[in-house]
Amino acid sequence: MTDGKVEALLALKREGRPSVGRDRIELLEAVATHGSISKAAKAVGLSYKAAWDALNAVNNLLPRPAVTGQTGGRQGGGAQVTEDGHALIASFRLLEKRLDKVARLLTGDESGDGDPFALLWSLGMKTTARNAFRCTVTEVRRGGVNAEVLMHLTPDCQLTAIVTGESVDELAITPGRDVTALIKSSFVMLIAGDQNPRLSARNRIPGIVSHRDDGPVSAEFSLDIGGGKSIVAVVTRDAAEDLDLKVGDKAMAFFKSSHVILAVD
């Protein structure tokens, strides 16, 4: 929408899963072409980190990863687009081509002053939460005010959210329903190693440190949690030094169930 005109932007959904935009498809295509994230990032004009984050986000939202082998760190091992990833690209491009024809018919000359489609622009929601996981609800436990929602992130990994009962009603959250669990990276704490701690926090996800970025005060970690998924945690730089966590180390991400936000399509 650089020229402010109506352009057919395809939001790809499958079985109600959230949209994958063109920028991410282009990045996937670049990975397929170059076989490496760093080269793909350069090709689409992104920083390595932005590309890496975008691909992780795509993998987190798909049932199976679209890209594999991206955990090689900054120098990067190779990265491959999976069969699912190629299918995603192909169907996106095909639909986009068809949609473009329709869009030109639909909008005609209406895209000048007083854009009748202006309201549509606000519909596509993006969030700042770094962790967005597609989950399937397995159980809903009701309390007086709150409700506990149990979900599967992967077959081996369960997440728990505590939200109000009113939200559960409003969003019609029931077992079997797919939801997106959002967790701000600053809510995620880390523990070194793979020992399950005696903590009240309901959510504990073991993984391997795949990325560490140090700032003067904070440090950002990514953990590869298996199944092509990853979780981002921001902790203090002091904590990062104390835990002495490096890429390749085992670690566990944990967060309170009350820190999980649920979204539905």
Binding site: G143, I162, S186, M189, T236, D242, S258
Partner: protein
Amino acid sequence: MQLSARNALKGTVVEIARGQIVGKVKVDVGGQFVTSLVSVEAIDELGLTVGDSVSAIIKSTEVMLAK
């Protein structure tokens, strides 16, 4: 157990109030009280009772300040 959380206040459980989903655990930390809301499942799993020694863990991003 080494955590990234910067604040771990050692204290004694002085009160537990159970709800259906969430419970309140009041911890005496050297004469001051820290109140924690955790799931009743967590209370059961940890086997928390009044008099237990616990650590109240607070991520530094969660601490508000007043002056």
